[in-house]
């Protein structure tokens, strides 16, 4: 985009201010961490004592990623209202994640003094090293790859909109994330998520008013869309792209299945009491629903205001384009902070999780169980910084292997964790061999299906993947020995 120097300056001021606030949060959180005796519990879990509003916002911000701000509205621009219908399968995300894992998950994680999600799984599956290694490696690989992809998205956004060279955008953006996550740990992640969630929420309100005002009200907007292409007004998308079995499988992929994303499941461990969980369910549901409806609807109506995407840009930039076209530059800068916030708040949770998997789940369990507090705290921060640095380096010029793995990251995480968590909590007979079988069958079938059978029976591959993962888990568990009685007592006993 060709913007004048003056306009660029006005865009940059709110953006830089925003980044400065996030860094400050990192500093503030590190001061709290210093005072804490239980370093690991604070650095990786924030001592699990967050209130309802904070839990709701961190869940929302972690969940709402680049795709909700860039890819999603871009697809809505092309496909029309049918894509909003697809996005609305995410409305229950908050009450489903918190409600199905439920208080039982919080009770158990306190019983076994878990600091990570994998701590819970390790205890539940009789300390089986294969389960721990598979789950940890699954988390490390899939999450790191997903972070690379989000970094690439963030830097590209800087580049298209402000003309800042890709590398500089990446270093600025990645550098800020590295600093606040490394310094402040999980508390910094959660607190910055709250700010980022609020920025996103008000950003969407502003966008909705702006597009409908510009398009001459809802009725005119819809009528103009109908004239462009009547298919934009149907639930089926353009040329019947959104078929019923396919859209219905999004209830599995982006609603129920997200319980299997470790960064989401972890958030069901960190509320301080029952009351916080209740209010997090309410606030989370309203905010997620509003963001999803608003962002995608704005993407649809954008078609009326910007009938064609300018040359050199893609549909993905429709929201930032709208902001630049319709708002004074300083406000546009503030709005551009919103997709940036969406990316940062997703990436930070994933980075801290990767670091916890390496330090807490692998190093302390298998390599050096006797490490002392000081060593642990140094290592935790070192690994958080190192992981962030590696990810930034990969994002400079992403190797094709990473691009390839990223296609399977979301589904791969669900295939790895979904049944381990659900059956571990609600089925006494679930055991380690079953868990191993479920991970192996799930991940392999997701990759193979995505390549060779893209819409099995008209659905998204995740549906058949989870069915196969369940069957493997069930049969192998029944064919092998039940878990130790001690484990069952620990998890179910009074």
């Amino acid at each position: 985009m060709n913007l004048t120097r003056e306009v660029l300056m006005q865009i940059w001021i709110p953006l830089l201010l925003y980044l400065a606030v996030v860094i400050y949060i990192g500093l503030y959180s590190s001061k709290i961490a210093r005072k804490e005796k239980d370093f690991l519990g604070e650095y990786f879990l924030g001592r699990a004592n967050f209130g309802g509003f904070v839990v709701a916002m961190t869940l929302v911000a972690t969940y709402v990623s680049a795709s909700s701000y860039l890819g999603g509205p871009g697809a809505a621009y092309t496909q029309g209202l049918g894509w909003v219908l697809l996005a609305m399968t995410q409305l229950p995300a908050a009450y489903v994640t918190l409600g199905i894992l439920g208080k039982r998950f919080a009770i158990i994680s306190r019983k076994v003094r878990a600091v990570t999600l994998i701590d819970v799984l390790r205890e539940r599956y009789d300390n089986n090293p294969i389960v721990v290694w598979l789950a940890s490696l699954g988390a490390v690989i899939f999450l790191m790859v997903a972070v690379v992809a989000q970094f690439v998205g963030g830097a590209k956004l800087f580049q298209t909109l402000t003309g800042l060279p890709y590398l500089w955008g990446l270093l600025l953006f990645g550098g800020v994330v590295l600093v606040y996550v490394t310094w402040g740990g999980f508390r910094a992640v959660v607190l910055s998520d709250v700010i980022q969630g609020v920025v996103m929420f008000f950003g969407v309100i502003l966008l909705i008013f702006m597009v409908f005002y510009k398009a001459g009200g809802t009725y005119n907007a819809m009528q103009t869309l109908g004239k462009i292409n009547p298919e934009l007004l149907t639930p089926f998308g353009v040329k019947n792209f959104i078929t019923i079995p396919w859209i219905s499988s999004f209830w599995i992929l982006v609603c129920i299945g997200i319980i299997g994303l470790p960064q989401n499941a972890l958030r069901a461990m960190v509320y301080k009491d029952s009351k916080s969980m209740h209010s997090a369910m309410i606030i989370g549901t309203i905010v997620v629903g509003f963001l999803m409806l608003g962002l995608h609807l704005v993407g649809v109506v954008a078609r009326v205001i910007i009938p064609e995407i300018p040359k050199g840009l893609t549909n993905d930039t429709i929201i930032p384009l709208l902001a630049l076209n319709l708002l004074p530059p300083w406000l546009a800068g503030l709005l551009l902070a919103a997709p940036l916030a969406a990316i940062m708040s997703t990436v930070d949770s994933q980075l801290i999780l990767v670091s916890s998997a390496i330090v807490k789940d692998l190093y302390l369990n298998y390599i050096n169980p006797k490490a002392d507090q000081r060593k642990i705290s140094r290592l935790s921060m070192l690994f958080t910084a190192l992981v962030s640095l590696i990810v930034i380096l990969f994002a400079i010029k992403p190797p094709s292997l990473i691009i390839w793995i990223n296609l399977y990251a979301f589904g791969g995480l669900e295939a790895t964790f979904f049944w381990l968590i659900i059956l571990g909590l609600y089925w006494k007979r679930a055991n380690a061999p079953g868990a191993i079988a479920s991970i192996l069958v799930g991940v392999t079938s997701f990759i193979l299906l995505s390549q060779y059978w893209k819409r099995p029976f008209g659905t998204h591959p995740i549906v058949l993947t989870l069915v196969l993962g369940f069957i493997a888990f069930y049969i192998v568990s029944l064919l092998t020995k039940p878990p130790k009685e001690e484990t069952i007592r620990k998890f179910w006993g009074a």
Binding site: L81, M88, R110, T234, I244, P482
Partner: protein, 96 residues
């Protein structure tokens, strides 16, 4: 399962109830979404009726569902969810 004699954590009965409530809410949500979207939206767009400027199927399945289920969550949670302690009694809230 041959584990006679051990007493289940008394809080689990309540957690089971809460999970069922969430599942019922989820199923209602899916049905609402599906019935309005395809019940009202399957005819040709020329025959659509409109609510507040939006095609009726869209208004009911996307906009109204957000409002209705937000209200339901607000009503249902205080009704069925109980304020139970999360820490184990034996360890008396050391971590919280």
């Amino acid at each position: 399962m041959g584990q006679g004699g051990f007493r289940e954590d008394p809080r689990y009965a309540q957690t089971r109830k809460e999970v069922i409530v969430v599942l019922v809410l989820l199923i209602a949500n899916i049905l609402w979404w599906f019935i309005f979207a395809y019940g009202l939206g399957s005819k040709p767009p020329q025959e659509y009726s409109y609510v507040l400027g939006f095609p009726a199927w869209f208004f009911w399945s996307c906009i109204a569902s957000l409002i209705v289920f937000s209200i339901l969550v607000v009503l249902v949670i205080p009704m069925f969810f109980k304020d139970i302690p999360l820490d184990s009694e034996s360890e008396g809230g050391e971590r919280g």
